[in-house]
């Protein structure tokens, strides 16, 4: 089956990203396809490379990145939500005059159309959040 994943909450504060990760990893291991993982609302916080959790805790951002590396996952962060919350890539930094970037290289910033497209193209949209 082909899944689209939507994550609406940030890392650590909320379990949504953990549950989505476990679901996504298991689905891939079982041979299913993940069309796209879309991060919305505070979920965009899952995409910052500056995250530094204690060493004995899981690294939520790197874990997503490693899964993306292994399976070629498309990890997309909503641009409007990212702008509000200060998640920045090179293009956004240039457009908005910011002096730094913080997005993890395995994530990309794009528009809400990517979420709609994922829902259209997939058999199921699974939403993780409150």
């Amino acid at each position: 089956m082909k899944f689209a994943i939507q994550i609406n909450e940030g890392p650590y504060q909320h379990q949504a990203s953990d549950s989505a990760y476990l679901f996504t990893r298991t689905a891939l291991e079982k041979g299913h396809e993940i069309f796209r993982v879309f991060f919305y609302h505070d979920g965009v916080g899952n995409g910052t490379r500056l995250t530094t959790p204690p060493q004995d805790d899981r690294h939520i951002v790197n874990r997503w990145a490693e899964l993306a590396e292994k399976y070629g996952l498309d990890l997309v962060v909503c641009v409007a939500a990212a702008q509000r919350r200060g998640l920045v890539d090179d293009g956004e930094a240039e457009r908005n005059g910011k002096d730094a970037t913080n997005i993890h290289p395995k994530f990309r910033i794009s528009g809400l159309g990517q979420l709609i497209e994922a829902a259209v193209q997939s058999d199921r949209l699974v939403v993780f959040g409150d």
Binding site: N8, H41, L112, I116, A119
Partner: protein
């Protein structure tokens, strides 16, 4: 943009202010309207407060985005289901809601109501009929 047409339901469960879910949900609806899917909105639980009329936000320093709901008809988003029990539990009636309408081009642009009040059981049925449910 896609040859496939699906039934999209945006399930709005939260109050308009206090969290950003309602506002960012509406942003998805507006972008999604360009994709030619069959779109409905549902308002349940505190989500019914999103379309209450006479919203004033000056004192909390937030943008009053409720006028945007009035524009949905122009985006061909004209199926708005409101759960009766959610209204009643909050002391609201349909008269407390904005009068949201759309113009039916197949009937000489007749103005029609977008809001339909349905029971909880009917809402469950509406949800099961969808291909995609965006839950906010």
């Amino acid at each position: 943009m896609s040859e496939e047409i699906k039934n999209f339901l945006y399930l709005n469960r939260r109050a308009p202010y206090g969290t950003i879910y309602a506002w960012e949900s509406l942003e998805v609806v507006l972008i999604g309207a360009a994709f030619d899917q069959k779109v409905s909105l549902a308002f349940v639980d505190d989500g019914v407060f999103q379309i209450v009329k006479g919203q004033k936000t000056e004192q909390i320093g937030m943008k009053n985005f409720s006028p945007t709901y009035s524009a949905l008809g122009d985006y061909d988003v004209n199926q708005l289901y409101v759960e009766r029990e959610s209204l009643e539990e909050r002391g609201l009636t349909v008269d407390d809601l904005m009068h949201l309408t759309w113009e039916d081009e197949d009937e000489d642009w007749a103005e029609k109501d977008s809001i339909r009040v349905v029971s909880r059981a009917e809402m469950a049925e509406i949800i099961t009929q969808q291909d995609v449910v965006f839950s906010f």
